[in-house]
Symmetry: D3
């Protein structure tokens, strides 16, 4: 406890994934939760499969990239 | 708001994904939610990893395909 | 197949839930999927527990309501 | 993008929820993602319904509480 | 690892929840995973919010109950 | 009903996936739920993307493998 599931666009760098894992964990540690109890799972979804406003992000945000 | 996560068998066509994103979004727009607020994420799961009735769909529904 | 999970703010009317279930199902039926195979689950999350832009929606969108 | 879903034991204080929302959002902002694009949803699950090591946390961690 | 999320209709008995937690955990232990590493979360969703075949289960399966 | 989503590290053998699907289904059948009503989805997440205790499992559990 807690379980944190992060969904992002495919293509996140390994460095960014590590920063997400450590940064999110720290948020819970600061609330008094033991570090070893925090589980963070990062899932990647292609921009073609991620719709915002009725259209795939691959079309409406063609130039934006994950970190 | 809302967040919609769709899980389907791997192999959905890009055209079907677009229709899912636009069609699902429209359902919420018709309820008065602003189009830009609707987020739809389509996740693909291999039929080998999708069990119905205790067996993988790759065995029990070998001939069925995603749209 | 498919499984659709919808997360919305707490307080959606029963009528809206029914329209979401029927409307989302129809999107998949139009793609050739049998109606009985579509499963739609609607989950409600309090606005206090739904953060956008770093703040709970209960504060930044105090006047907005689910359908 | 991203969508972050946090599952925790029921009973998290409103203050803790706010700190989770703001803290988690900040992790992504520091990676260059616009603050308004980060969505964080906190879901509470009773300890009776949360199993670790084959038993409900309500039994094995009876004295531990969420923040 | 693994994380198992179970969604069921609201009204599952506490005894059934315990059997789900212990039974599901055992499946993974038999595959060689340490018992303490298995996390099982049981989430309840009202039948009004669970659609099958385009209609809420509260209508089409009015007499069926969770275990 | 129920829907069971299992998240595990990438690299689970096909045989293990089958055992998870059949074993988990059996847990619910023993509670009186019809076999055909149980849906089990197994999702694989790379160890680089699975954080425990603030670090990716690819680093802290480099030698451990999925079943």
């Amino acid at each position: 406890m807690p379980i944190v599931v992060v969904k992002m666009w495919t293509g996140v760098s390994e460095d960014a994934v590590e920063k997400i894992i450590s940064g999110v964990t720290k948020v819970f540690v600061e609330l008094g939760i033991p570090e070893r109890a925090v589980e963070v799972v990062v899932e990647e979804v292609p921009k073609t499969h991620w719709g915002i406003g009725g259209k795939p992000a691959s079309k409406t945000m063609a130039d934006e990239k994950p970190p």
